[in-house]
């Protein structure tokens, strides 16, 4: 892995949009001028089953196609997965975990048994309910991820998400606005 490449692992449950989030994240980051990869892990396809998806982003072309073993960022869409899935697998001391939860960073750090400096929390489910009207935490978590990575262009991301969603939901402009608001809110609310 080149020094400049960022590797991300998403954990969710079937139906929460972990795959969609990784794809949307990749597309929007590519539109800001970076190389990307987004790929899901294929296993049992059932609602509620633990699922993973992955991203690589880099200034340079990405030639590797292996799985991600040492993620720089782990995004957890459903905090109940902390109890049942080894979400910190491969995470080294510099790795960061972003959790959709109403708990504090210290509470999450204790559950994950990692340093509090590695933990970020945001109540993405609440944000999704307020902005989109449904508990779909994947889009707000995208905003939180952009904030935690720190080097990405949030305005560019918002612009590209808008373009992308406008095509998909051209008959439902409310959905587009709700999703954009959720990204902004999570970007502002995510805390260490």
């Amino acid at each position: 892995m080149s020094a400049k490449m960022i590797e991300i692992r998403w954990h969710g449950r079937g139906g929460q949009g972990a795959k969609t989030a990784a794809l949307l994240f990749a597309e929007t980051i590519m539109a800001t001028g970076m190389y990307i990869q987004a790929f899901p892990e294929y296993g049992p396809e059932r609602m509620g089953a633990p699922v993973q998806s992955f991203n690589r982003i880099s200034e340079d072309p990405i030639i590797i196609h292996s799985g991600i073993k040492v993620p720089n960022y782990v995004v957890i869409l459903d905090s109940s997965l902390i109890e049942s899935v080894p979400v910190t697998d491969g995470l080294d001391k510099s790795g960061k975990v972003i959790v959709n939860t109403s708990l504090s960073t210290s509470e999450v750090a204790e559950k994950l048994d990692i340093s509090i400096n590695q933990v970020y929390v945001v109540n993405a489910s609440r944000i999704a309910l307020e902005t989109i009207g449904k508990d779909i935490p994947n889009t707000p978590m995208l905003g939180a991820l952009v904030k935690v990575i720190g080097t990405l262009d949030i305005d560019g991301v918002l612009k590209n998400v808008k373009t992308k969603l406008m095509v998909k939901f051209r008959h439902k402009p409310g959905i587009v606005e709700g999703n954009l608001a959720s990204i902004k809110m999570a970007f502002n609310e995510v805390k260490s």
Binding site: L23, A26, E27, M30, G33, M34, Y35, I36, Q37, A38, F39, P40, Y42, P61, I62, I63, I64, H65, S66, G67, K69
Partner: protein, 401 residues
Amino acid sequence: MMKTAYSKGNLVAKTGNEVMAEALRQIEPDVVAAYPITPATEIVQIFSQFVADGTVKSEYVAVESEHSAISATIAASAAGARAMTSTSSQGLCLMWEMLYIASGLRLPIIMAEVNRAISAPININADHSDTMGARDTGWIQIYSENSQEAYDNIIQATRIAEKAKLPALVAMDGFITSHCMEVVETYPDADVKAFVGEYKPERYLLDVKRPYTLGSIDLQDYYFEHRYQLAQAVIDARDIILDVAEEFKRTFGREYSFYEKYMLDDAEVAIVIIGSAAGNVKAVVKELREKGIKAGVLKIRVYRPFPAKQIVKDLAHVKVIAVMDRSDSCSGAFPPVYSDVTASLYSARVLGPKVLSYIYGIGGREFCDEQVVKVYETLGEVAAGLEKYSREVEYINVRIK
């Protein structure tokens, strides 16, 4: 900064399946017949939407099995149409007898194939067992490392097949490539259409002015000659493949050949590999080179026809070679790529290189950088004079009792 190879190219984020469907839309064959199978389903699913939306004028035949899919494609091709299909794994297996008929009738059918393991046990992930099983069917086989190559290969394959009068399949690794979104450069519709051109079959069944018979009985008197001609046609396809690659480079700016050489010319140790894993191997070689280790890669793109003479020339100077197979022949001898590479070397009396056989990644088993490094370490030790190395097939990352 991201750049295009072609001045009118367009960078998009697409999965291998999506970009394959995009190529099919641009090529706009007369007939597509297919049956869904993971992980290739999306290709024809997306394409059938193009048909439903009227984006393409292609006739889409929804069939009840892969046997019917290839049969309908054969019939359409024999009738004079540009015909394509797509499948994977068990689907390719179900097409089996018809694969030979497609090549025996010299029909330039194009297939987008997504490499997947074969049952049993059931497995949906990548290995090359499906297409390697079809290696002697008389089909041209072109493999892709990533989505860009899959897109470029299917465009070239259309020209190659029609000029060679042979069916051709373009393969990419299941999920690893088919479901991985990455940056791909696509070309304008008009430019792709201009490159593939219009299909003008020399003879076809619906040509009522020049009627002819296709697929008649052919016993001891002529069958042998016809099969000999088929084998010669596969050999002759080599020049066509290089010509099309040359024109592709002139048009779209990307360079293709039978295989890609990566730091091979002065390499002392090298890996021969096919498909998506080549990227990781190249990344490892880059690091080894920085440490002064003369490592290289030969990534096979065109497996049928096998570029025997060229490969021998480019491997002759290498001290130790590992041939990595992503399928097993269960033969008691050696897996397919190893067999072809070593037979090519031996028949040319190039006996310098020591050649080791490895099998990896069966059923989607992870193949990671540490394993690549270990293979190069072994090659280095053998090159340095280690005599006690395996003369048998070595399996990577498998639990053996």
